[in-house]
Amino acid sequence: MPNVSNLDMMMNPRSVAIIGASKNPDKVGHVILQNYVNAGYSGRLYPVNKDADEIMGLKAYARVGDIKDRIDLAVIAVPAKFVPGVLEECGKAGVKSTVVVSGGFAEIGQVKLQEDLVKIAKKYNMPTLGPNCLGVMDPRSRVDTLFLPTFKLSRPQIGGVSFVAQSGAVGSTILDLISGEGFGLSKFISYGNAAHIDEVDILEYLMNDDETKVIVMYIEGIRRGRDFVELAKKITKKKPVIVLKGGRTAQGMQAAHSHTASLAGSWESYEAVFRQFGFTIANDISELLHYAKIFASEPEPRGGRIGIVTNGGGVGVLAADAIGNSGLLKVGSLSDVTKKELRRKMPPLVNISNPIDIAGDAGEDRFNTAMSLLADDDGIDMLLVIALFQTPGADSTVAARLIHYKENSEKPMIVLTIGADYTRMHKIMMESAGLPVYDSPDAAVKALKALLMYYDYRNNTP
């Protein structure tokens, strides 16, 4: 089934040639080389440009064939009409893989040019990503073919989430957002026109990649539908896959055609396939991030009974409503032991039922007591802790307590906090420590539901 195998060479190259590297800061090839230099890429780096002897202090070569070294990855950033010639040179020089960043192929009707590219890639059995793509990024190997400067697009820290995007625009936007999340990135692959390497190849690679714990994907179409189905059966048995699909409606589909020369299929069929094989469907970019962070850090839940701790009654009620509306989760009943202990340890104003309203003057000790009791209560499967930092009792010691608690928790636990600057500061603290934080009851509950649905699928599907 694999169309192209061994993407590993592209993700972990020991040597990289950047074809079209330039001294001119306006050129894409300049930015790419600059990013490699900035990232501290530890492999061997070769700029290729026939008009320069040296770029950024590195010796430049007129042609890739002039380099006396094995090239694991060639990043090609030259105008489209020159790409086939350059690719042919790469093939002859024994380059192991290429990323064609250049646009100007099937997406603007230049189908023949794209077919030529595929022929050359196949002739030399040389995995080729793109054209018309951002390429790849791996914070571990420090490979970064993105032509977007680091001062504009922040690079995420190392983590377990791999992100596949057909579109460069959606890809870079989400990547920028991921850099602000606590969970970090394993691999980013933007594959553009998918002329040679397509989504099935990439998913297959990520399925078998041990560093990838969660896969997030943005797609507009799938080229090999039946192969995708066969892969889909296996992939979600190994790791969660979160998918956002563009081109659902007739209007969106038209845009998709002119965008990445992609054939968007009918949304209902896609949705059915995703559901049937346990994918988590995101409806927009923020949902995609909400799901990514819970899957990145939380363990498998035993069930859908939620225990809520809140230092604000009303938000607890909203969360309980969202749970009631979810159609799958339930507000769990507290055991007699939990109730008895709550009565014994909490001041009289604390409400002894679920949600446990520990009141606005609650400090870290009350949070700790309530969370510990829920952790030991067999009737509770997941914890939703609502920490409102506007309250008199809540400060950084509460955030620190939640982080500390998280490290010892065997049950999935997420935090809901709503507010402006002071809250945001604590949200960043908690997220950097790997605690998923949400800013609306609805988003929090959707994430808990997605977690349960995925493991339910994984455990029950034959």
Binding site: F228, S269, A272, V273, R275, N460, P462
Partner: protein
């Protein structure tokens, strides 16, 4: 795409273990009467030019007496001639039990190939759009999840009593679609679910 002859379509279903209500083409009211044998029957006009039989008044229900059968036969013929539906045929069927109408269907998706559909049926298909799709082949777990995803789940399964039956039917349809790649589209609509199981009342296969 062309519509497959009804009785041929019925035989293909039969060969795949999917049984539909007893049906027969008739060339006279007399043949219809002997088919009835005193039991109430349904009489329909079938033509490639008429897609929605019930909407266009081409279905006559609950016919028992000789006069009823003769009258229905005459009216359908006249209507068929008047609306220019030739060539057409008249078919008679045993009357199904009362129950909940569902649809089970199949389509060929450009990306994923054969897909099977289940939903609330009859006249409600388009109004409520309560359906679930699955890519073939679907197994028992898949069809169970498809049924569970429907809003009308409890209604169409008779509070779960007919769930297993419907699950098996969806699986059989999926198997049939995979075995017969030439089937482009399929409608079993309505399939009537009652206390006693299911009865397939109308079949459309497009090739």
């Amino acid at each position: 795409m062309e519509l497959l002859d009804y009785m041929k379509a019925k035989r293909i279903l039969d060969n795949n273990g999917i049984h539909s209500v007893e049906s027969m083409y008739v060339k006279s009211p007399g043949e219809a009467l002997s088919f009835s044998g005193g039991e109430p029957i349904v009489m329909k006009l079938i033509s490639g030019k008429a897609l929605h039989k019930s909407k266009e008044g081409l279905v006559k229900l609950n016919l028992v007496k000789r006069e009823e059968i003769e009258k229905a036969y005459k009216e359908l013929r006249e209507k068929g001639d008047r609306l220019g539906l030739k060539p057409y045929r008249i078919i008679v069927q045993k009357t199904a039990r009362k129950g909940i109408e569902i649809i089970i269907g199949g389509k060929t998706d450009n990306d994923f190939g054969k897909m099977v559909l289940i939903g609330l049926g009859g006249i409600y298909v388009e109004a409520f759009r309560d359906f679930a799709l699955g890519v073939c082949p679907v197994n028992g777990y898949d069809s169970m999840r498809m049924i569970h995803s429907l809003k009308s789940r409890d209604v169409i399964t008779y509070q779960g009593k007919q769930e297993k039956e419907i699950e098996k039917l969806v699986e059989k349809v999926s198997t049939m679609l995979k075995k017969n790649e030439w089937i482009q589209e399929l409608d079993l609509n309505p399939v009537i679910i009652s206390e006693n199981g299911y009865e397939i009342v109308d079949i459309r296969i497009l090739r």
